[in-house]
C-alpha cells in the first residue's frame, strides 16, 4: 500500500464530460480516490471508474471546467471517506462533506467509507415503535415508526418542505429518553429553500443537534451523487456509534436521480426507462436501505427522502423505483393544496407499510388500526361520491352518497388540515376521527368491531353522555 500511495501520473488521452481516459496505471485501484492537479495549481477530486493495464478511466467529482490533457493525477490508494465525529453536530458542510461554515476542519474520530456496507438482514431489529409526529393524517393513518424509510412524494410548488420541517420539529417517540439528531442533506436545492430549513431548525433549537450537508442548485451536479451517501455516513456514525435516534431528510431525490442519469449518459451506458440507468433501483436501494435499527444498538436511522414527481407522474421511474424500496409513501396532492388544505396529504395513495407493527394496544391505542381502516374506507366512499357529483350533480346522489360527501369534506377540513404549528397528540387525533365517524350510521362502520364501537364510539362512551349533537341525524 505504501508504495502505491501518492503515485502520480500524467498521460491523459481524452477528457469527455466528467470522465478522464488515461493510459493504464498499474497502481490504480478500482474505486480509489484521485487528486487531479493542473499546471496552474488548481485541484479536483476524482475516482477510478475502471482500472486496467491498458486503460484507466477516472470520473471527476465536481465541476470539470479547466481540466485538460495536461493535468497530473495523484492516486491516493483510498476509497471515498468521510471524517466523522460528534462535533459535526451543529456544523454545515458541502455536498461532499467539506466544512463550509467557516469553522475548522472536523477532528475525526474515524474515517468511514461513504458507501457504507450493507446491514446483515439477520442483524436488523424490526422497526415497531410509534413515532408521534403530531400530524393527524400521518399519525392516524400513515404512522411512522422509528427506523422506517418513508418518503414524501410531492410536486414542485407543494409545501413538502414545510411538512418535512414540521415533522422534524414535532417528532418524538413517546416515553423514550431522547438522543435525537437531524441530518439534513440538500441535493440541488435552491438557496432560499436551504435558508428555510436552516431557519426552521434554528427556531426550534435543533441547529445544535443537526448536521447540514448542502449541495445547492448551482453546485456541481456530480457532487450530488455523493451528498446522500455522505449524509448517511454521518447519520450511521451518530446512530450506531453514538446511540442517537437520527432523522435523515434527503431533499430533493429527483435532483439526485437526474445527476445519476447525467453521469450514466456521460459513460455512454445503455439506458433503461426514460434515460435513467438500469441500475438505478440498486443504486437507490444502496441509499435507502441504510435506514433502520440494528440489534443491540440503541440508535436508529429514520429516513425521509423528499422527491418531486416529474409532471406529477407516479409511474415515472424516480417515484416508481423509490416506492419499490421504501416502506410506504406520503403523498402530497395539488387538489387538496388548491383547496387550502395544509398539510395536503392525500391518504388514499399513501401508505405506511410498517404502521401495523407500530400501533395498537400498548403502543398507541387498541382502536387505532380499526379507526384508520374505517377512515380510509369511508373517505374513499366520499371521494367516489364527489366524482359522481361531477357527472350527475349533487341532486342525483342517494342519501347515503350525500352523507359520505359530507364526510369527505369534514375529513379533509377537520382531520387532515391542521396548523403548521399545531401538534396533535395521538389521543386527540383519534378523538377527531371518532367525531367524524360518528356522523355515519353505525351499520356503515364495517371495519370496526362491535366491541371497539361499544368502547370508543362517542354515542356509547362515557356516562350516558350523548355524542356530538346532531351528527347522526344527517343521514336520517
Amino acid at each position: 500500500m505504501a508504495v502505491i500511495y501518492g503515485a502520480t501520473r500524467k498521460g491523459i488521452r481524452l477528457v469527455k464530460g466528467p470522465l478522464l481516459f488515461m493510459e493504464g496505471v498499474l497502481e490504480a485501484r478500482f474505486g480509489e480516490v484521485v487528486r487531479i492537479f493542473s499546471e496552474e495549481g488548481r485541484e479536483w477530486v476524482g475516482q477510478v471508474l475502471e482500472a486496467g493495464r491498458e486503460a484507466t478511466v477516472i470520473q471527476v467529482l465536481g465541476d470539470t471546467e479547466g481540466i485538460d490533457v495536461g493535468v497530473i493525477v495523484k492516486f491516493t490508494g483510498e476509497t471515498l471517506k468521510l471524517p466523522v465525529a460528534e462535533e459535526m453536530l451543529g456544523r454545515v458542510f458541502s455536498g461532499s462533506g467539506v466544512p463550509i461554515d467557516g469553522g475548522p476542519p472536523v477532528k475525526a474520530e474515524d474515517y468511514r467509507d461513504i458507501n457504507g456496507a450493507p446491514i446483515n438482514p439477520t442483524m436488523r431489529d424490526y422497526p415497531d415503535e410509534f413515532v408521534e409526529t403530531g400530524i393527524s393524517a400521518i399519525d392516524g393513518m400513515l404512522s411512522l415508526v422509528r427506523g422506517q424509510k418513508l418518503p414524501i412524494f410531492s410536486e414542485s410548488g407543494l409545501p413538502h418542505n414545510q411538512v418535512a420541517a414540521q415533522i422534524a420539529r414535532q417528532a418524538v417517540v413517546p416515553g423514550k429518553a431522547e438522543r435525537f439528531a437531524i441530518v439534513f442533506a440538500a441535493i440541488g436545492l435552491k438557496h432560499d429553500e436551504v435558508l428555510y430549513f436552516r431557519k426552521q431548525f434554528e427556531e426550534f433549537g435543533a441547529l445544535s443537534r443537526s448536521i447540514l450537508f448542502l449541495n445547492l442548485a448551482n453546485d456541481p451536479v456530480i457532487e450530488r451523487i455523493m451528498t446522500p451517501r455522505v449524509a448517511l455516513t454521518a447519520a450511521e456514525y451518530l446512530a450506531f456509534d453514538l446511540d442517537m435516534d437520527v432523522l435523515v431528510i434527503l431533499t430533493d431525490m429527483t435532483n439526485y436521480c437526474e445527476a445519476l442519469r447525467e453521469l450514466s449518459a456521460a459513460r455512454e451506458e445503455v439506458p433503461s426507462r426514460k434515460g435513467y440507468p438500469g441500475y438505478m433501483y440498486s443504486d437507490l436501494a444502496s441509499i435507502y436501505e441504510r435506514a433502520g435499527r440494528i440489534k443491540g444498538k440503541a440508535g436508529s436511522i429514520t429516513l425521509m427522502p423528499i422527491l418531486t414527481m416529474p409532471g406529477g407522474d407516479l409511474t415515472h421511474p424516480i417515484p416508481d423505483l423509490t416506492g419499490y424500496i421504501t416502506e410506504g409513501q406520503i403523498f402530497l396532492d395539488y387538489d387538496l393544496f388548491n383547496r387550502g388544505i395544509y398539510p395536503p396529504i392525500n391518504v388514499l395513495p399513501s401508505l405506511s407499510r410498517l404502521m401495523k407493527d407500530g400501533v395498537g394496544r400498548g403502543k398507541t391505542r387498541e382502536d387505532h388500526m380499526e379507526v384508520s381502516n374505517q377512515l380510509y374506507a369511508s373517505y374513499r366512499e366520499g371521494t367516489k361520491a364527489r366524482e359522481l357529483v361531477q357527472i350527475i350533480g349533487e341532486a342525483g346522489l342517494s342519501k347515503r352518497e350525500r352523507t359520505y360527501l359530507r364526510f369527505a369534506d369534514r375529513f379533509e377540513r377537520e382531520f387532515v388540515a391542521q396548523g403548521f404549528r399545531e401538534r396533535r397528540p395521538i389521543e386527540e387525533t383519534l378523538e377527531i376521527a371518532w367525531d367524524l365517524l360518528a356522523m355515519l350510521p353505525e351499520a356503515e362502520l364495517t371495519r370496526i368491531s362491535d366491541a371497539t364501537i361499544a368502547k370508543y364510539h362517542p354515542k356509547h362512551r362515557g356516562s350516558g353522555e350523548e355524542g356530538p349533537e346532531g351528527k347522526t341525524e344527517i343521514y336520517a
Binding site: T122, S272, R273, A285, L321
Partner: protein, 594 residues
C-alpha cells in the same frame, strides 16, 4: 473434479463487478474463480482467447491490475445435505448469522463459509447394507432434520455400483464418509451426508408427472379462483404496494408443503427480518414444529451485491429440487424475479451485449424459462416409487406497474397460474388485490375432483357461478359509474349486491386477522356455496317486487359477509344460523309483497 490447479491468471482490468483476467489457460465457462488478493468469489462468464471475463459476486473496490486469479475447477455449486433447514443464507449460500458473528452488523467481503455446519453431528440410521447394489437416487439411510426425515441418497452424478462399506447407526458430521460404493469398473466412491451440485443444472429425475393436487395456500382467492398445484408454477406481478410480498409470506406460512424455500431477491432487509421474527414462533399444524424448521431462507436484499442476486434464485431452486428428490412437496417463493432479471440486464450491459427490449438481453425468455421450468411433480430417481414436487411462485415487479413490460410478458408464458395484482384494488384496500378478470389458472379443470374428494363439495361449480356474478357486476359497475347506482334496475342492483358480498365476504382476506389469515378448503367451499345461494334465494324476491333496499337491510346479508371471521371449529354452526336467518327474512319479505 481434479483440475490443474496451478494455472493462475492475472487481473488485467476491473470495471465494477466485471473483471478481466489474462493467462487463465484451461479455464471453463461458468467456472468459479477466486479473484484478487482477497480471493473474492467470481464466475467466468466469457472466454475470448487469452482474455477471461469474470463476474465477481462481491464489491471489487480497491482491486488493481496484476492481482492473482485462482481457478477452482468447479462450477457454482450448492452444498446439499442435512443442516439446510432453518438456515438464513446469503445469495451464494453463506450463513448470514455466521457472517454476523465474524463481521458484526455490517457485511464485509471475502468471507469464506460453507453452507452446512461442519461441527454438527447428525444421527444417521442406515437403511442399506454392504453388498446391496445401488443406483443414483437410492436411499442409503436417513437423518432426522427439523420437521423432515432427511434421506441420504446416492448422488445423481455417482456411478451405480455395490455398497462395499457402510457406517453403523450413529452420529456423524457431514464430512464423514458413511458409505463406499464401488462401481462395476472398480471406482471407489465415498459418500458423505452431503454432496455438491452445480446450481445452474436441473437435478435429474425419472419422469415428469401431471400435477393434480391442489397446493393449499389457505388464501381463498388463490385456492378457489386461481389455484396452483403441487409442482405448479405461478407468477404474481404488481406495482409497489399491491401486495406481492404479503402474498408470498402468506403462502410460505400456510402452504401445505413439507419444505419451503424463500428467496428474498433484491428486496427490503426489513422484510427478511419480519420473516425471521415470525417463522420461529409460528407452528406448522402438520408437524407441530416451528415453521422455521421446514424453511430455508435466502436473503440477497436490495443493498447486497447485485451479481449474487443472479445466483440466489438458482441456489434456491437447487435446494428445492434436493428435498423434492427425497419424495417431498416443496414450495419455492421468489421475491422478486424482476430484480433477478435486472441483475442479468446489468451484467449483460457491462459485457456490452446488444440490448433488446428495455435494455434486457435477447436471451431473457430462455433465462426466465430456465427457472420456471424447474418446477414440476416428478417420479424420483433411484429404485423407489416415490413422487416429489417443486412448486415455484415468483413475484414480478413491473416498472411503472405496467404488465406489458418484458419480464412480466415472458414470465406469463411459462407459468400455469398468473395472479395479476391491481393497483385500483390495492387503493381500495381490497387485499389480496388479485384482479379476477385479468388473472388465470390453467389448473382449474384438473382440480375438480380434488375438491370433491377432499371437501365433499363441487367447488369448481360454485367458482363458475361466482365468476359469472363478478363479471356481470363489473360491466354493470361501468354503467353505474355514469348514471349512478340508483338508475339501475333492481335485478341489476341485486347482481351488484351479490358481487359485493362475494368480494367482501370471500375474496377480501386480511393477512393480519387472527382467523381470516388462513381458510381451509372446506370452509372456502361452504362459504362460497352460501354466498352463491344467497343470490339464488334473493332473485325470486326481486322478481316478486321486494325493493332492493329491503333486501340490503336483511341482517343475514351482514352475517354472510362476516362468516369468514368465524373460527373453523365454530364455522358450520354459524353458517347454519346465517342460512336459517336468511330463510326467515326472505320468507317474511316475500309474505309482505304477496
Amino acid at each position: 473434479m481434479a483440475v490443474e490447479q496451478e494455472v493462475t491468471g492475472v487481473v488485467s482490468h476491473i470495471k465494477g463487478p466485471i473483471v478481466v483476467a489474462d493467462g487463465m489457460r484451461g479455464a471453463r465457462i461458468r467456472e468459479i474463480v477466486l479473484v484478487g488478493e482477497e480471493k473474492l468469489i467470481g464466475e467466468i462468464v466469457r472466454i475470448e482467447g487469452n482474455r477471461t471475463v469474470i463476474q465477481v459476486y462481491e464489491p471489487t473496490e480497491g482491486m488493481r491490475p496484476g492481482e492473482p486469479v485462482e481457478r477452482t475447477g468447479e462450477p457454482l455449486s450448492a452444498e446439499l445435505g442435512p443442516g439446510l433447514l432453518g438456515q438464513v443464507l446469503d445469495g451464494l449460500g453463506r450463513p448470514l448469522p455466521k457472517i454476523a458473528e465474524m463481521t458484526g452488523p455490517f457485511i464485509t467481503r471475502g468471507i469464506k463459509l460453507p453452507t452446512l455446519p461442519r461441527d454438527v453431528k447428525w444421527s444417521f440410521k442406515p437403511s442399506a447394507r454392504v453388498g446391496d447394489r445401488v443406483v443414483p437416487g437410492d436411499v442409503l439411510g436417513t437423518v432426522p432434520e427439523g420437521a423432515v426425515t432427511h434421506k441420504i441418497m446416492v448422488p445423481p452424478n455417482a456411478l451405480p455400483g455395490r455398497i462395499v462399506e457402510m457406517a453403523p447407526e450413529g452420529d456423524y458430521t457431514v464430512e464423514e464418509v458413511i458409505a463406499v460404493v464401488e462401481s462395476a469398473g472398480g471406482v471407489r466412491q465415498e459418500i458423505k451426508l452431503y454432496h455438491k451440485w452445480p446450481v445452474r443444472m436441473p437435478r435429474p429425475f425419472r419422469e415428469k408427472l401431471e400435477p393434480t393436487m391442489l397446493l393449499v395456500t389457505g388464501q381463498r382467492v388463490i385456492d378457489t379462483f386461481f389455484p396452483i398445484v403441487k409442482g405448479g408454477a405461478s407468477a404474481i406481478p404488481g406495482g409497489f404496494g399491491t401486495g406481492k410480498t404479503v402474498t408470498l409470506h402468506q403462502v410460505s406460512k400456510w402452504a401445505d408443503a413439507d419444505v419451503v424455500v424463500y428467496v428474498g431477491c433484491g428486496e427490503r432487509g426489513n422484510e427478511m427480518t419480519d420473516l425471521l421474527q415470525h417463522f420461529p414462533k409460528l407452528i406448522d399444524p402438520k408437524t407441530g414444529r416451528p415453521l422455521l424448521e421446514r424453511s430455508v431462507l435466502i436473503a440477497n436484499t436490495s443493498n447486497m451485491p447485485v451479481p449474487a442476486r443472479e445466483a440466489s434464485i438458482f441456489i434456491g431452486i437447487t435446494y428445492a429440487e434436493y428435498y423434492r428428490d427425497m419424495g417431498l412437496d416443496v414450495v419455492l417463493t421468489a421475491d422478486s424475479t424482476s430484480r433477478w432479471a435486472e441483475a442479468l440486464r446489468e451484467l449483460s450491459s457491462r459485457l456490452e451485449e446488444i440490448p433488446s427490449e428495455r435494455g434486457f438481453p435477447a436471451y431473457l425468455p430462455d433465462y426466465i424459462a430456465s427457472f420456471y421450468e424447474r418446477a414440476g411433480r416428478i417420479k424420483v430417481l433411484g429404485r423407489r416409487d416415490e413422487m416429489g414436487s417443486v412448486a415455484v411462485i415468483g413475484a414480478v415487479s413491473p416498472s411503472g406497474g405496467d404488465l406489458n413490460e418484458p419480464v412480466t410478458q415472458h414470465t406469463m408464458r411459462y407459468v400455469g397460474a398468473f395472479w395479476a395484482l391491481d393497483k385500483d384494488l390495492a387503493f381500495k384496500r381490497h387485499f389480496p388485490a388479485i384482479n379476477w378478470l385479468k388473472s388465470f389458472s390453467k389448473y382449474v379443470a384438473e382440480l375438480k375432483y380434488w375438491w370433491i374428494e377432499n371437501t365433499g363439495y363441487d367447488m369448481m361449480e360454485y367458482r363458475e357461478r361466482a365468476m359469472e356474478i363478478l363479471q356481470k357486476a363489473s360491466s354493470l359497475e361501468e354503467v353505474a359509474r355514469v348514471v349512478g347506482e340508483a338508475a339501475l334496475s333492481d335485478e341489476n342492483r341485486l347482481v351488484l349486491l351479490a358481487a359485493e358480498m362475494i368480494r367482501e365476504g370471500f375474496l377480501v382476506q386480511n393477512a393480519y386477522h387472527e382467523v381470516d389469515t388462513y381458510c381451509s378448503p372446506k370452509k372456502q367451499a361452504m362459504l362460497l356455496k352460501a354466498l352463491v345461494e344467497f343470490y339464488d334465494r334473493a332473485r325470486p324476491l326481486v322478481e316478486a317486487g321486494v325493493p332492493m333496499s329491503s333486501i340490503r337491510e336483511m341482517s343475514s346479508v351482514g352475517l354472510l359477509m362476516r362468516l369468514k371471521f368465524v373460527p373453523e371449529d365454530e364455522f358450520e354452526e354459524a353458517l347454519k344460523e346465517a342460512l336459517t336467518k336468511l330463510e326467515t327474512e326472505a320468507s317474511m319479505l316475500m309474505a309482505e309483497v304477496r
